[in-house]
């Protein structure tokens, strides 16, 4: 059996410790690195991240890792972006002006709606445990995705003020509803996956998500 190896990209943004511990709890051997060669030869790669989109992209570019992540995706290596790491998979973000992303999944990152579908103001950031639902025109089932072991209405932990809007609805694996608005909770295109929620902070359900990624 192939050992469960995973490489976390260390570009100075985010709580690597939590992702590392959760992956180790799943039985993975974890490498944390910013070295191009180590990332390119990894069997699986995670792009974590907390903070502002422009800062995240700037850090990746400074380290020359934006091209590396694109190469990882192009060669078919399973890639998982978490939170900001997921948002950076898209073409661009509206956070503090327009910033280019990695362009691995077509679409844009926009603010979480400030007003509910009922016309009421809602809390920003979107913080807390929310339920995963099947998107109306999205991915038809979760078999073979990072949500393979997850069931609709399982709750996971979110904390974010911006959200990904993939332009192709087929790239939406799961949504959650916030004030009636759908928010992309998990996205995917081939070997590239993204979770807006924090699987490393989502208890047993989150560990199942990481386990499914490690099985990719």
């Amino acid at each position: 059996m192939k050992p469960l190896e995973v490489t976390l990209i260390d570009y100075g943004m985010g709580n690597l410790l939590s992702v590392r511990r959760a992956m180790e709890h799943c039985g993975a051997t974890v490498t944390v690195t910013a070295e191009v060669d180590a990332i390119l030869t990894a069997p699986r790669v995670v792009l974590p991240g907390v903070g502002a989109f422009a800062d995240g992209m700037a850090e990746l570019r400074t380290l020359g890792l934006d091209a590396t992540v694109r190469q990882v995706a192009a060669k078919g290596t399973p890639l998982l972006g978490i939170c900001l790491g997921m948002q950076m998979l898209l073409d661009e973000s509206e956070e503090f002006g327009i910033t280019d992303g990695l362009g691995l999944i077509p679409g844009r990152v926009v603010p979480v709606p400030r007003i509910s579908t009922q016309g009421k103001p809602q809390r920003i950031p979107h913080i807390g445990w929310n339920e995963l639902v099947v998107p109306p025109q999205g991915c038809v089932d979760w078999v073979g995705t990072v949500l393979h072991e997850v069931r609709p209405n399982d709750a996971v932990y979110f904390v974010h003020s911006f959200m990904a809007c993939p332009s192709n609805p087929a790239h939406r694996i799961a949504d959650c509803l916030y004030g009636g608005h759908p928010i992309a909770a998990a996205i995917g295109k081939g070997n590239v996956f993204g979770c807006q929620f924090h699987p490393e902070k989502s208890g047993e359900i989150g560990l199942k998500v990481l386990m499914s990624f490690l099985s990719q």
Binding site: N15, S18, G51, P121, R123, I124, P125, I127, N130, S161
Partner: protein, 256 residues
Amino acid sequence: MLSKRIIPCLDVAHGRVVKGVQFVDIIDAGDPVEAAIKYDEQGADELCFLDIRASHESRDTLYHMVTEVAEHVFMPLTVGGGVKALGDIENLLHAGADKVSINTAALFTPELVKNAAERFGSSTIVVAIDAKRVEDENGGHWECFTHGGRKPTGINAVEWAKKMSDFGAGEILLTSMDADGTKAGYDIPLTRAVADAITANVIASGGVGTLEHMAEGLSAGRADAVLAASIFHFGTFTIRQTKEFLAARGIPVRLA
């Protein structure tokens, strides 16, 4: 649908959980990792650790404790107590905290909150407010207090909450110093006034004694989360009992 959060709060000193009534008779109540695991098993939505003896010498002990806890439970951790500078926040996040609570330092240096939100994201910054009712010619208002409710600041608590929300705090941890320790319930008018005034999330704290109080904080008080210490510590109610009670009241909670 987004669930309302139930957050047990653990007071810590020198890396150990302590229990005390009104900060008197503080006793060692054990290992933070064991407490965290217990609350995780009961279905807590996140954990809040407050270092009540925050001193320069004990910082490394606190960081070590946060790392230990983060290694054992896979849930959000908020840590506060003695946070004065961006470096303190960075150290806590690096140790494994997901969110850092800033209290007194925000009152003296409001820009700390703005700078912290810009650098680490609104999602990681909590501002703790200790508020107390004071009389005035218009019948009264709530004011921010420091030093466990002993020192007034002259700052209107609702306006302060709004300013901190505008400065980028993602959450306001709102403690009523009038209600704290009374077990007579959260200060609902205060909670409601802050919840209606700001965009950031509101965590109600101080005064909870019954499950009905939790329901009031979330419904009438319009809080997004409720924090409680003693009723969970002393085993009056478990988190699971709390959530079952709230669910029966039609309040959305995560029943894992």
